[in-house]
């Protein structure tokens, strides 16, 4: 087993493997999106208090969760790359970052659109909202640092350190923001705490899985381009079919 892991942590073997996996993940992601949207919009009933507006939840919550999850995954890969000096892990980290940032953006966007009918404002300075915004900044910092360094190895290592420092800070930021908000104004915002309808739950989990698979597909495709770019002087790249044709 251990040998297998090392085998697939080499770009040489990972590149074709990823190429084979991508179509499967892509197709299942598309199917799950279709199912999720069907359940969410056709099967699930309208919410008692929020009417039809609550249906934003099926995209909002998955993208929020995935944006946070991806940060941890990214930091994990970055740490692996920094500690064990495995090239592939660092490439994965830089492949994940843009997707994570986009999910954070979608979360902010859909949240804002939900806020308008629910709270009457596009944005309030609530703890959750603020910490999601800061998470977006952390992603953007990682991406910008990586892009500013020309030497790929230094770029990987520097941005890995940043990702790790960031992930240590995420809880601190979260609690500080939470505390900050509840200090002056009593909790003006409460999510509808009613127990969820089964169909709603099903829709949400399907969408979550679909988004997760989508993220994997994109990250794998991107990492394949990164491998091609970084290893373009090696022999095995120049012998690939898609390069020779």
């Amino acid at each position: 087993m251990a040998i297998n892991w090392f085998k697939y942590s080499a770009p040489t073997t990972f590149y074709p493997l990823a190429g084979k996996l991508i179509p499967w993940f892509a197709v299942s992601s598309a199917i799950l999106f279709a199912i999720g949207l069907y359940i969410g919009f056709v099967v699930a009933p309208a919410d008692a208090t929020q009417g039809e507006f609550y249906r934003i939840i099926f995209i909002h919550v998955p993208s929020s969760i995935i944006s946070m999850l991806l940060y941890m995954v990214m930091a994990g890969y970055a740490a692996l790359g920094l500690i064990f000096n495995t090239r592939l892990s660092s490439m994965m980290a830089s492949a994940i970052a843009p997707t994570g940032a986009l999910f954070a953006f979608i979360s902010l966007w859909t949240g804002a659109l939900w806020g308008k009918p629910m709270w009457g404002a596009w944005w309030v300075w609530d703890a959750r909202l603020t910490s999601e915004l800061i998470l977006l900044f952390l992603y953007l910092g990682f991406i910008s640092l990586h892009a500013s360094i020309d030497d790929p190895r230094r770029a990987d290592r520097a941005s890995a350190l940043l990702a790790i420092v960031g992930s240590v800070n995420v809880p601190i930021i979260y609690f500080s923001v939470k505390w900050w908000n509840t200090l002056h104004q009593g909790s003006t915002i409460k999510y509808s705490g009613t127990s969820m309808h089964v169909a709603m739950q099903q829709a949400m989990f399907t969408m979550l899985a679909a988004c997760w698979l989508y993220a994997i597909v994109i990250a794998l495709t991107r990492v394949r381009s990164i491998i091609l770019d970084r290893e373009k002087n090696t022999k095995w790249i120049n012998e690939l079919d898609e390069v020779r044709s």
């Binding site: 000096n85 030497d151 373009k232 002087n233």
Partner: protein, 204 residues
């Protein structure tokens, strides 16, 4: 004793050298040769541990330098392209502080003596900003006199120096070798070290 085995190093996409092996024993001196951009500086910086080699191992007295870390640094001194002196400080302050950074408390008297030996008499207390290029290099080289590390790694120590100073550096190196020191250096000028066989390593 410094041992290098099967070292390979690349910058950017470019492989500079590979399969490089040599050993340097106490009392030995080695010159690295090669055209501009052939990787001399990169090799010296790899030996200092700034650059992680792609392959191969560097060991000091049998132990890998990556593991030794600060113990290795205590045994070594590096003098690079840059002088590592501050324009705003005087030669004296510069020398005492850089000795302090390498863990040695240097008295003012010793520092002045070292600077005089380097031909900076009467200029010890001027800010280095007003010194000429060659004099600034001498301030940097004065560190050789106040340091007891056995391994010297010198990148173009003769740059910007005049004939007298070049001879002085030759003397210093000869003394160091006589004390069972080791020297590894690069230069584009000839350097004569009295009574020592000079090994040389070519990078192509």
């Amino acid at each position: 004793m410094l041992e290098v085995s099967n070292l390979a190093c690349s910058r950017g996409d470019h492989r500079l050298f590979s399969g490089l092996s040599f050993a340097l024993y106490p009392g030995q001196i080695m010159q690295i040769q090669g055209a501009n951009g052939s990787g001399k500086t990169s090799l010296l910086r790899t030996l200092c541990g700034f650059i992680t080699p792609d392959e191969g191992k560097i060991s000091w007295c049998g132990a890998d330098v990556c593991d030794l870390d600060e113990d290795y640094f205590a045994q070594m001194m590096y003098l690079g392209h840059l002088n590592a002196i501050k324009d705003e400080l005087s030669a004296l302050e510069n020398l005492r502080i850089s000795a302090g950074l390498s863990g040695i408390e240097l008295s003012e008297k010793d520092a002045v003596a070292a600077l005089r030996r380097m031909g900076l008499k009467g200029r010890e207390r001027l800010p280095t900003k007003v010194l000429s290029q060659g004099q600034r290099r001498r301030v940097a080289l004065a560190r050789l006199l106040v340091n007891d590390a056995p391994l010297w790694i010198l990148d173009e120590p003769l740059a910007a120096l005049d004939v007298g100073a070049v001879a002085l550096i030759g003397e210093l190196i000869a003394e160091h070798l006589a004390r069972q020191g080791m020297v590894i250096f690069t230069t584009h000028q000839p350097l004569i070290v009295a009574g020592m066989e000079m090994r040389s390593l070519s990078l192509s």
